[in-house]
Structures are given as C-alpha cells and as structure tokens.
Symmetry: C2
DNA sequence: GCTTAGGATTTTATCGCGCAAGTAAAAATA
DNA sequence: TATTTTTACTTGCGCGATAAAATCCTAAGC
C-alpha cells in the first residue's frame, strides 16, 4: 500500500523560519531555502559526491545565508564514525604528559579527528573513565595507563582500536607505542660508568608505575652487569618534592656520586636540593641524570643529562596506529618501541 | 515496483546475537534479552525514572551480560545536550595552559561533562577551529583566544554558552573569567619600588596577546605614577628562549636593576641567563619578577617572585558559568575578575 | 532538419542509525 | 470503581546511504 505524501511536513518542523532563536539550522532548512531536497544538501557537504555545479553553488549559498553547519553528532550516528578519539592520561604534574597530549592532539587534528580528554587522578579510576569514553562511540582510544585484561578483551571484541602509550601488557601483545625504558637507562649507566663513577643510587617512581619499574630495574641490571652491586633505591612519586626528599635520604645514608632518577622532574628536584641544601657542585661533586627530556631539562639552569623520549614520533605512531585500525579493523596488534636518545647536558660527568 | 515490507526486522538487525563481533549492543538487544521493551531499558538508565525494582534488576543484568552501554551520541541527538564542551587553548609551551586545561577538565568531569580539546598553533586559526567545535553540538565553549565580533554574535544568537578565559572584549561585555593582570603588575611594581629599585625594564609577550599588553602597560603605568619614566620594553614571545634573548638585550643597552617579565617562563629564561652568562646574583645584583605562578616558579632553583593566578578558582568559575548558562540560557553575560596573589620568592628584593 | 532510443548523470524519496519523550494501555494499588 | 504506578508503542532528533526517478546528453534513424 502506498503511503500518501506527507503534507506540509516542513511547516510542522519549523513553524517560523525567522524565529529560530537558539534552534539549530538543519539540512532541511537549507534544502527548503535552496529549493532542493535534503539529500541534495547532504551530498553537497560530502567531498567527492556527484553534484552539478549550479546545485552546489545554490546550496552553499543557502547554507551560508542560514549559517548551516552539518551536525557531526547526527552524522556519526549513521556513518558509525565519530571522528572522536579518547585520550586517557594520568596527571599533568609530570610535565611529560602535557607534551604528549599536545602532540597527539596535533596529530589527530591533522586527520580531522578530535580528542576527548580524560585525566586520571589515580590509575585505578581508569575503568570508570573508560566506560564514559566508550559511551561517546569514540573511533579509538589512546591510553597511558594499564587496563584490566577483561577490558582489553572488550576492546578486541568490539573492534575498537586501542593503543597503549608507554605501557605494555605482560601476557599478550597489545598495540602499543613505547620508549625503550631499559635501553635508555643502559645508555645512561654506560656513560656514567665510563666516566668513572663508583657509587650509584636510584630514585624510582611509584611502585604501581610500570614505567618506573622498567627504568629502575633497567639501570640496576646494567649496573650489576658492570659489577656494581647493592644499589640503593629510594622511592619517589615523580614529583619535584619527592626528588628533593629522595635525594636527602640518599645523601644522608649513601652519599652516591651518581643519582639516577626515574624522571626529569625528580632529577630537577634532586639538583636543586643538592645545590642549595648541600652546597654541592653538579657535576663535579655529584652527577644527576633523569628521563623524559621535558622542556625544563634544557633550561640552562639545569642542562640535565637525560634520555629524551621522541615524543613527536611516538605520538605520530600512536595516531597512525589508531587510524590504520579504524580504516582496517583487522589490522593486527603491533608494538612499536622507540629508542630514547641521550641528551647530553652538564648535570652529569659522562664519557 | 514497491518493495515488500522487510520481514523480521529484529533478525535482520542482529542475525546472530552471539556473533556480534564489532557490532554495537543497542538498547533493543538488551530489551530482547531481558524480555522487555526498548523504552523500559531506556528508563532504567535514566536516574529518577519510575521503574520497578524487579524490572531494573532484570534489565541491568541483561545490560551487564551483553556489555551494553548507552550511546551518548544518539542520546544527545534527542536530548539536545551533548555533555561535551569545547576548550580552545593556544599553545602548551607556556606551561600555564596545561595547568588551566587540567583544572577545567577536572571541573567539567565532576559535572559529567567532557572536554573536546583544541589547540591553536596561531590565534588566527581560531575561526576555523570554532566551526569544527560547533559541528559537535557542544554544550559550551571555553576559549583562551580572541574571537571576531561576528562569531560572538553567532554564539549569542544560537544561545551557545561561551566563556573567555583571560580575554575580554573592548566593545561589549561577554562572559569571561580573568585574572587582574594590571592589578597584579601594580603589586609587583609597588613591592619593587618600595625595596629601592631605581631602574626598571619590561619584557613583554607577543604584541597580539592582549594579556601581554595588559600586563606590560599595567606595570609601566604604575611605574609612571611613581615617577619612573622611559621604561625600556623588549618584546618576547612567552618562551624561555625569548626570555634569554630579551634580557641579553636589556643588559647590554639598559642594565636595569629590576626586570619585569610578562610571564614566568620568560622570567626563568632571564634568571638562567643573568646567572650563567653575566655571573650576576639574583636578587642582590638584579631582581626578576614574572607572572602566572606555574609550578617551576616554586622550584628552589628559581623561587620566582611572581603573581600567581588562582587557576583552580578561575577554572571552577569558568565551569560554573558554562553550566549555569546551559541550564538557563538567558543567564546574562558576566565578567569575573580574580585578583592574582603575590607569591614571594627570592628572585627579587621586595619590601 | 527533428525524433527517439540508450546510456550517463543528477536528483529525489525513503529508510534507519540508537535513543528518549510523549502518549496510550495495562497492571497494581487504593 | 477511581487512582496511581508501571509498561509498551510510536515518533522523530538530523543526517547519509540506497534505490528509484528524473534529467541530460549523445548518436542513430527517419
């Protein structure tokens, strides 16, 4: 049975075209204004669609006149592509993360994808946050935190691209972009040992941080290989203050001639404390090395010897991996490990 | 020829409930699993809806079993509330912005609203970026950049809440949250003058930055009031390097005994250069002051005397203003100006 | 010259993405 | 029976994909 043409639907939709205060302008409005069908408007906004020149001109003019902008939300419902990605980071006190976020955002933005940002106060909040991310039908998720295996399974089953940033999972291979933490530490240790340092100490991050463990054990293992045993390790939490507190403890108990810090911010805390509270000269009296390569490490007041993570390349890789898997969902998981590069400074005597 | 009605719609929708690989779970799926209607499922996820205990339990169990999460995109289409806000910031090299972003994100997150992040390479890109933000039907926009009057009109007409962060518009009152830039500079100048400084110099930000203009003219005007004329001003761009370059120029040409920097990062660049290149003691030989109160200003290596912007309060205010206007669109525009607080350090002799 | 078949192109009509609001109906309670 | 709670049905948010219809173009045929 044939439906009769729906009468005057347009009038019902928008009783007074002039009084659309606060109302959104839809493609119907533009269609009516241009005297064409709604789908014609739709095709005009889709690159590569077959539209005649006159039609496109007329529609575009009507669109401009009415201030029409396609509704990305409605569009994503039908295309099943939101052009949204979730980025989940822990905190910003570690100055490394803002740099990562900036690069990720730039990378996605260039591809017409937008970043939905989530920051965690504690890594254990991640599961609750993930649920909220997923409700927005993001095209993918970049996460700098660990996830439960069930959660990872869920992503796999739903075929939602997921890339870990500087995290990897023991049991299975998941897509991730990492910096070679242990390798970086080995570079630092080699340089310190070659320069004649004899007693070492480590300042680690929080013990639920995999990155911290990788770095600290990387350094310790290499020291063991080179014949240095019983390396004292003090635990910090990546903050400046914990760098200060940690080095005080080390100075009192161990008086090392090289302090290996699990990140730059703590290394900077160390340096300030060594100079101002213990009147030590760096690197003559003691060497300090960090990890990350944050901007302040380059400030001439510190000139920190550290391992710079190639943040730009790593971010570009993460973006690329997400987008590849968006286009072809069966792309297999891949781990990409980037070498950190030693950034010579003057906070350590190195060979 | 007329198509026959598609039969067995549910079966077409999801041929094999068990094999829904990659397919989204919808409220229909949950409804079928729980043996209820789709609207019942919908109401179970709406707080305050009238649903019997047994029904809710059954639905929730089915939801859990199938891994159902409501589709926020589809929901927002009908409710006209996306629970998304756009945050537009310029760059991250100024370490102040990550702090702002973090606080904004926390504030919105607590209210169940999510941040869509946009960063500008140049402030002039803002119009293009705004269009993309609006396509996502954001509930509001927080922007730390200037906007054209037409664009502001557009927001007003569409009744989209818009709050400027540390920007205000000359011609009309728009909703904004600001720090009292000039007032902060006056505090600094007063303290410097009282401590006996005689020759001053300013290091400004880029000349398209309203904030920089407000700060630098604020300082200069107060100096004029106190009888100090002809204050040399060197222009920087808020970066560490421009702080270094700027102070070199000042030392060669003017040799001031107090340098007033338009932000902390430049002030830090100044300090490092004065100490390392000119062997000067701070604050004995020269005083340096900044503005913002970023975390590194508190590092004991700098202990910068500066004006701390109350970032947390300002962000909370911005969040509140957006949300108020979301709930009641006719809330009038309001400008909230927060006092910066002087953060005593040891980078300047102050009274 | 005009007409028309046949194909290529453009345009229109319809449907549904997933959900929630409104309304009508049914069940439970007073 | 009258009232309240709970449930089911229908519709439409705004748009894009699809298929159907309309239009245009070309060239053969008279």
């Amino acid at each position: 049975m044939k439906q009769p043409r729906i009468p005057a639907l347009e009038l019902v939709r928008n009783p007074k075209p002039s009084a659309n205060k606060g109302r959104r302008v839809t493609s119907y409005d533009v269609a009516r204004l241009a005297g064409v069908s709604q789908s014609a408007v739709s095709r005009c906004f889709k690159p590569g669609a077959s539209v005649s020149k006159e039609m496109r001109a007329r529609v575009m003019q009507a669109a401009r006149a009415s201030g029409y902008q396609p509704n990305a939300i409605a569009r994503s419902l039908i295309t099943r592509r939101s052009h949204l990605v979730g980025v989940i980071l822990s905190d910003f006190t570690n100055l490394h993360y803002p740099e990562v976020l900036f690069e990720l955002n730039q990378g996605f933005s260039r591809r017409g994808v937008h970043v939905l940002l989530f920051t965690l106060r504690h890594e254990r909040d991640v599961d609750e946050v993930i649920e909220r991310v997923l409700q927005y039908q993001v095209d993918g998720v970049v996460v700098a935190s660990t996830l439960s295996p069930q959660r990872i399974d869920y992503f796999a089953k739903r075929q939602i691209p997921l890339v870990f940033f500087n995290r990897s999972i023991r049991d299975r291979l998941v897509s991730s972009v990492c910096c070679d933490q242990a390798g970086g530490e080995r570079l630092l240790v080699n340089a310190l040992v070659n320069a004649g340092h004899k007693s070492f100490a480590c300042l680690s991050g929080p013990d639920d941080s995999l990155v911290s463990i990788q770095r600290t054990t990387g350094a310790r293992d290499r020291l063991h290989e080179l014949g240095f045993d019983k390396i004292p390790i003090v635990q910090g939490d990546y903050t400046y203050e914990s760098g200060q507190a940690g080095v005080r403890e080390l100075i009192v108990n161990n008086r090392p001639d090289a302090v290996i810090c699990a990140n730059d911010v703590m290394a900077i805390g160390c340096m300030d404390t060594l100079r101002r509270e213990y009147n030590m000269n760096i690197p003559e009296d003691i060497s300090v090395v960090g990890f990350d390569g944050i901007a302040p490490a380059l400030w001439s007041g510190y000139s920190l010897t550290t391992i710079r993570q190639p943040v730009r390349q790593m971010s570009a890789a993460a973006v690329g991996m997400i987008m590849d898997r968006v286009d072809r969902p069966d792309t297999p998981a891949e781990m990409r490990v980037f070498a950190g590069v030693m950034q010579g400074g003057s906070s350590a005597r190195v060979a």
